[in-house]
Symmetry: C2
Subunit: 134 residues, 2 copies
DNA sequence: CGCAGCCAACTACAGATGTAGTAATCAAAC
DNA sequence: GTTTGATTACTACATCTGTAGTTGGCTGCG
């Protein structure tokens, strides 16, 4: 029995998840406010609907102890990002990670310096420790 | 007037595009056959519907000179992949390319050796020439 | 010449998605 | 205590997606 995987998320749902990961946990109103700051104005009920769907598919946990309910992510951000990355890589680059990275460099979204820095951070132990935050 | 961008593609549509890029150009039947080899069995009319939608949104060009019609991609594969990558990066990793690559390495989808190889290929001129195929 | 196939156009349709309105409740303000 | 505001539970619904059926033309086979 491997760890339970996060269910598929639609773009709108994923967007909510990003907010929840940032806030750790939040009520509908709080979530809505955070979205608003990003420029995503959604009706209160829309946010509720989305959070409801996320709860239904098990992507968030709802604390119904006391109202207003508090929602929080059921899966670590890191692991969800990883899964998405994996899926994307398989879908678009046939799983060829290096091909993808090459594209990144080619299109100047990643510099050689960054590439070297990554390499270093993977090898060097103390840099390794730092990792994880980002 | 910058270059026209490829319109958004749904997963099913993108899947067809992958086939078309491989075949360069193809009829409905040929496309369908190629999909079949990959294990994607779709009804003839389904393939036609999808190609029709792709044509409608300008992602493929249709040669109606003589039947059966011949469909071919309206955009280079490379550029579409790039766009998708860019969108994904922005959406999932807030545009932080190095963060994404770090994830790749962490989850062992990319080895340090590959990373070094990429670095090299970007720097070295003759390796640079080779690039493009992949 | 009439039928069997191939093909394009049009139609169908269930399920997913994004977005939000309405009803019912409850608690705080007056 | 009645009105008001917050909050949740339903309901709504237009679109988009994936998948495919139906209709009718044209073409070559017998």
């Amino acid at each position: 029995m491997s760890e339970p995987r996060c269910p598929e998320l639609t773009p709108a749902e994923f967007n909510l998840m990003k907010v929840l990961w940032r806030l750790r946990r939040a009520t509908v109103a709080e979530t809505r406010a955070a979205l608003g700051e990003k420029g995503d104005e959604l009706a209160y009920t829309t946010v509720m609907t989305l959070l409801g769907r996320l709860a239904a598919k098990g992507a968030v946990v709802v604390d119904r102890e006391r109202e207003p309910y508090v929602y929080k992510p059921a899966f670590r951000r890191e692991s969800v990002l990883r899964d998405r990355l994996k899926g994307f890589l398989a879908d678009v680059f046939d799983g060829e990670a290096s091909s993808m990275v090459l594209h990144l460099v080619d299109s100047e979204q990643l510099s050689i310096e960054e590439l070297r820095a990554i390499e270093k951070s993977v090898v060097e132990p103390e840099a390794r420790a730092k990792r994880g935050k980002k």
